[in-house]
């Protein structure tokens, strides 16, 4: 009876261990992978932008940050922000992987919808993360 209980307990433990072992597999690239995270601390004119470098790729990241613009759809195409044509925050502190953020103040019009995306630049590549939206408080 005692042996049965030990075997049952060991089986349940093994099931739990196996069940908890899961990991997203994303094929590594030469360039960094950037994930834009939800915007926090939204006020009338400011907010905190958040993002994560999931991996840095083969080269050192020399610059990272955020780009944003007012939400615009032109000829049914969403206008996405870029370093050339949009507002931006440029961070040049070294980073490999992990979360980074930037507090933005006095940059938005109240009650306005914006498109934002994080970016990372290596010597060879410029990578934009996915774009997300937020609306400043009215």
């Amino acid at each position: 009876m005692r042996t049965n209980q030990i075997v049952l307990f060991a089986s349940l433990l093994l099931m739990l261990v196996i069940a908890s072992c899961s990991k997203d597999i994303i094929t590594p690239r030469e360039y960094p992978r950037v994930k834009t995270l939800e915007v926090s601390n939204i006020s009338k004119t400011g907010a905190t932008f958040n993002a994560e470098i999931i991996y840095q790729g083969n080269q050192k990241i020399i610059e990272h940050g955020f780009v944003w613009m007012e939400y615009k759809v032109l000829n049914e195409v969403l206008q996405s922000p870029s370093l050339e044509y949009s507002e931006k925050v440029v961070i040049t502190q070294p980073i490999t992987t992990g979360v980074f953020n930037s507090e933005i103040s006095n940059a938005f019009d109240a009650g306005t919808k914006y498109t934002i995306r994080a970016y990372a630049r290596s010597n060879e590549y410029l990578v934009y993360g996915k774009f997300i939206f937020f609306t400043s408080l009215n």
Binding site: T3, V7, M15, A19, D24, I25, K130
Partner: protein, 160 residues
């Protein structure tokens, strides 16, 4: 895995019913184009409860008892999510979009078959090794695309 066996049909034929929990992650990676390269990662994460029901036949033997089994299975998806990470690269500039790839069905129905051997190790304790193959109707179906899931499982365990 919890397995209930009822050997009432015949001394060699028994009805089997099991229930087990699985947390599975499937991923795929595709690249299209060169100058304008599109790289896609699709990740499917499913937590599922699998309930196979079937019949097992044991061959006559003394120490190592070979057996075959087969039956139907029902798989309930406790939670399911899909993620499609698409990167478009042109001129060393990469633009990423992320969205859900598709809506996963709430359950799967399938059939399975297996072969194995078992041996009594102590009292009513029996060790077994089994190979099981299962085909289900998949996790996604619509007019243009459908899927099939084939599972191959190697089981080592103790019945008590």
């Amino acid at each position: 895995m919890f397995n209930v066996s009822s050997p009432r049909v015949n001394e060699r034929i028994s009805i089997q019913a099991s229930i087990f929990y699985l947390s599975t992650t499937y991923s795929s990676y595709t690249v299209r184009g060169t100058t304008l390269a599109t790289r896609s990662d699709v990740i499917i994460d499913i937590k599922q409860l699998k309930i196979p029901v079937g019949v097992q036949y044991e061959f006559p033997a003394k120490k190592l008892v070979p057996y075959v089994n087969f039956g139907l299975s029902s798989t309930i998806h406790l939670s399911a999510s899909t993620e499609w990470i698409k990167e478009v690269e042109y001129n060393k500039i990469v633009r990423t979009t992320e969205r859900s790839a598709f809506e996963v069905e709430s359950h799967q129905v399938g059939y399975w078959g297996g072969v194995g051997v078992k041996r009594t190790i102590y009292g009513s304790l029996q060790a077994f090794i089994e190979v099981k193959y299962e085909i289900t109707d998949g996790i996604y179906q619509d007019a243009y695309l459908n899927s099939k899931v084939n599972n191959l499982a190697f089981l080592i365990g103790i019945n008590f």
